[in-house]
Amino acid sequence: MRNITGFIFISLLLLGCKKEDPVGPTLTDLYGQFEIVEPLSHNKPDGVDFTKDSVQFKGEWTIVTPWKITIKGKRSGAVKTITGKGKTLDTLVGVWNGTADGIFFKLEECDVKLSFDNQSDIQTSSVKILGKHDYSKDGYIIESFESPITLTGGSYTTLNVRENTLDTIPEGEYYYHLEGTEPGQAATKGPASWFIGALPNPFKAKSTLGKTYFPFKDADTTTVYINFFVYGYGYPNTKILISAPEDDNGDGVFSSTTEDSYGYEYIVTSAGWHKVSIPLSEFSHSIIWIDDVPYKYGNNKKEISKMMEISISLVSDGKIPSPKVGCAIDFFIITKGKPL
C-alpha cells in the first residue's frame, strides 16, 4: 500500500514537472524591443516590367507590428499603399504588381517608404518601372482614350476634345475633356438632363468579347464594378450617366419599351482627379419620362448575366441653368471581384 501510494505520488509529481511549449503568441513578438533585422530591399534592383513581373519587397524586424509601404511615382505622382502586420515583408502581402491607389504609374522611378505603427524608424528604397501594369488582365477595358477618338456631342456641347494638358493623367498620356452649357428648364415633373457628350458607341459584349452577354453572374452583382477616373473643374450640375440595358427575353436584341435598363448617375463634385468604382448593385432601374409620365419597362429584375452593352454619357442637371458644365474622364474599365 505504501509503495503504491509512493508510486502515485511520484507519478503525479512528474506529471507536474513535464516541460511544455509556452501558450499563446510569443511575448517578444508583441512587446519586445523593436529593431530592424534586415533593412528594406526588393528583388528588382535593375527595374521591373510589370507586364510580366512583380516586385517582392523584403525586410525583417524583431516584433509583430503593423507596417505600411508607400510607393510614389516621381513623374506621375501616383501612389500605392501596401499594409500588413507581422515581422517580415517576405510574404505574399509584400508583393507589388504595379497597380496604384489612384492615378496610374508611368514608366518612371518610384520612391518607396516603409513605416511602422508607433515606431519612428522609416526605411526607404526606390523602384524603377520599365513596364507598366497591364490592366487588360484585371477586367474589360471600355475606353482608355489613348487612341484617337471623338465623342458624340450635342447642341449644348462647347468642348469635345482628347487632351493631355493637365499636370497629371490617370492612365497613359491622354484623357478626354467634355464641356457644355446648361440652359436650364422650366419646372416640370421628373428629372431633366441636357446631353453634353457620350462615347460614340456603347461598349458591347459582342464586339469586344465575341459573346452576346458579358460573362457576369447574377450572384456577383455586388462584386462587379464599373471603374473610371474623372476630373472635376468645379462646375456644378455635371453628371456622368452609365446605362446598362438587359436582354430580358434572351432574343439578343434590347427593346427599350419592353426590357430592363439599369443606370447610375455619378455627380461630379470635387475638383481634381478621382478614381470612381461603382458596383452594379448600386445601379437603379432606368425611368423613361414620356409627357411627364414616368415609365419603368422590363421585368424589374436586375440580371447582369443578361447585360449586353454599357453606354457612357455626360449630362447636366437640367433644372438649374449653368454657364458651364463638364469634366475630364479617363480609363473606363469593368472589373470582377474587386474594384480597380
Binding site: 503525479l12 507536474g16 509556452p22 503568441p25 524591443q33 524583431t62
Partner: protein
Amino acid sequence: MKKISLLFVISTVVVAGAIAQNPKVQFNGVARGNIENSWLPPGDTTNIDQKNKGNVLLDLGMNIKPNEFMRINTTLRFTNEFGGFWGQGAAIKLRNISMKGVAGKFFKYQLGDIDMQMTPYTFYNSDGDANVNEAEVFKTMRDLPEEENFNNLNSWRQQGAHVISRLGFDKGIKYTDIEGFIVRNRYSSQSLFPDRLQAGARAVFNITDKSFVGFNYVNLFDVPGTLPRDSVEKLQNQVATANFNVDVKLFYLFGEAGYSGLKNQDSTGAATTDITGELFDMGLGRKLFNDQFTIEASYRYVSDDFYSSAAQSKRLDYTATPALLSSVTNTTYTRGIGLIDILRDETIYNQKINAGLMAYDPRYNNVTPYGKATPNRKGYTGNLAYKDSTDRFATGVSAEILTDARGEGTESLRNYNLVRWYGNLNIHRIFNLKKTLALNGGFLYTTTTRKETTTIKVPDVDFKTQTLDLGAEIELLKRFDLLLGTKMNVANGLDYLSVRDEFNQVTDFTKYDIDDAQNIYSAAFRYRFNDNITLKLQGNYYEYKDKMNSANNFDIKQVFLLFNMRF
C-alpha cells in the same frame, strides 16, 4: 463476504422538526429600508455630482408544508423605490421558489432554486475579492449585495433539480452520501444558441466523522435539439475528481485529483476544440492543543488547460460598469470597479456560471484569481491557524509559493508569492468586559515576478499588491455600537495579462502597467434592537489615486441609513 445490513437514514432535520410542529404555513423574511446619499468632490464640475437613492423592501418568505414529506419555500419581494410613491415605483417580484421533500424514505429531493456546492475544483463559488478578515462595518455592507445575489457561503444559486440519499453501513464505511443534480445554465435564444444545462453527481464515502473519500463529476453541456434548425453545435465541459481527507496517525491527509475536458463541435459536427487538463492537490495537516492550532502543508498542480466552469466562475463581473457615480473627474472617464463597489453594488455581482474564464482584477489577487482552481499554477501552500477555545483571539497566516505550470508567451515561468495574515482580538472576553470591544485585522501581500532571460527581450514582470483590512467594534452603550473600519489596496508594477477566446485559448497578451491605491474609511453607529433588528447610520469615504496620472484621482463620500429586520 459478510452480510452488510443497510440502514436507510433520513437526514432532513427540518422535515423531522416540521412533523413535530403541525402548522402548514409559516412566514419569515427580511424587511429593509435604506436611504443613501453619495457625492463627488466639489472640484468636479463636469459630472453628475450627487446621487440619492433609497428604498424599502420586504422579502416575505413562506414555508408551506402540505404534508409531512414535502415542503414548498417561496419568497415574494415587495419593494418601493423612494420617489416612486403612490405605487409608481412599487414592484412585487418572485425572489425564489423551491419544493423539497423526501421520497419513499429513500432520498431527499429539491426542485426549483437550489444552492449547489461541491469541491473547490468542481462546483464552488470562491470568496469575494478584497476581503482579508474585513471589519464588521464592511461585512454588514457586503452582506447586502451578496444576499441579493444569493451568495450563500461558497454555493452557486441555480435552478433545477437536486436529489440526495444517504446510505448507512454496519462495518467499514460509516455512511455514504450520494447526490445528483441537473440545472439550467442558459435558455436557448431564438435561433442563436441552444439551451445549456449542467449536471453532476457526487458520492462521498464517510469512513469516520472526519475521514472520507469522495468522487465528483460535473458536466456543462449544450442541447443542440433546442434550436429550431438542424444544428449540432455543442459545447461541453466535464470535470471529474476524486478527493479525500483521511486521518493517518497524528496527521490527516487531504487532497483532490482529477481531470477536465473542454470540447466544442461546430455546426457541421467537426470538433473545433478538444482540450483536456488535469489537477492534483495533496497535503497533510495536524491539529494540536485540542484542535485550537492547525498546521497544514500541501502541493498542487493545476494544468494550464484545466477548465472547470462552475469552480472558475467569479462572483464579480469586472466588465460591468459601477452603478454609483461611474463618470468621474473633469476628464469624465468611466471608472473601473473599486472597493466601494465590491462592498455595496449588487449590479456588478455575477450569478451565472460561465463556460469561459471571466475577467479578473489583478489588483486584488493576481496569484489565485479563480481560487484554488486557477489554471496554470503549481507549487506549495502552507497554513498556520490558531483559535482560542474561548474565542478571545484568533490568528492565522497562510503562504503560497507558486509558479506557472506552463510559460505564457515565453518559456520562462512566473513566480507567484502570496502571504495572508488575519487576526481577531476580542478584548471584552480577555478582560471580561460587559460591553463588546473587538479588534480585527487582515493583510494580503502578493508578488508576481518573471525575470528577463536571454530568451526574453521584454521588460520583467514585477507586480505587487497589498490589501489591508482593519476594524474595531465598540459597544458604547447597551446594544449601541460604534463600528470603525478601513480597507486599503495598493497595486503597482507590470504584468502581461492573457486574452482568451471563447474556448479559453490564449490569443494575445495585454500589457498591464499600474501604480494605484484605493482606500475606504468607514464609521457607523449601529443600534441592535435585538439579534435580528438593527438600525445603522454609516459614513464612507472612498478615495482612488492613480500615481501614473493624477488627473484620474477622485473620491466619493457616502452616508446611508439602513434599517434591517429578520423575522
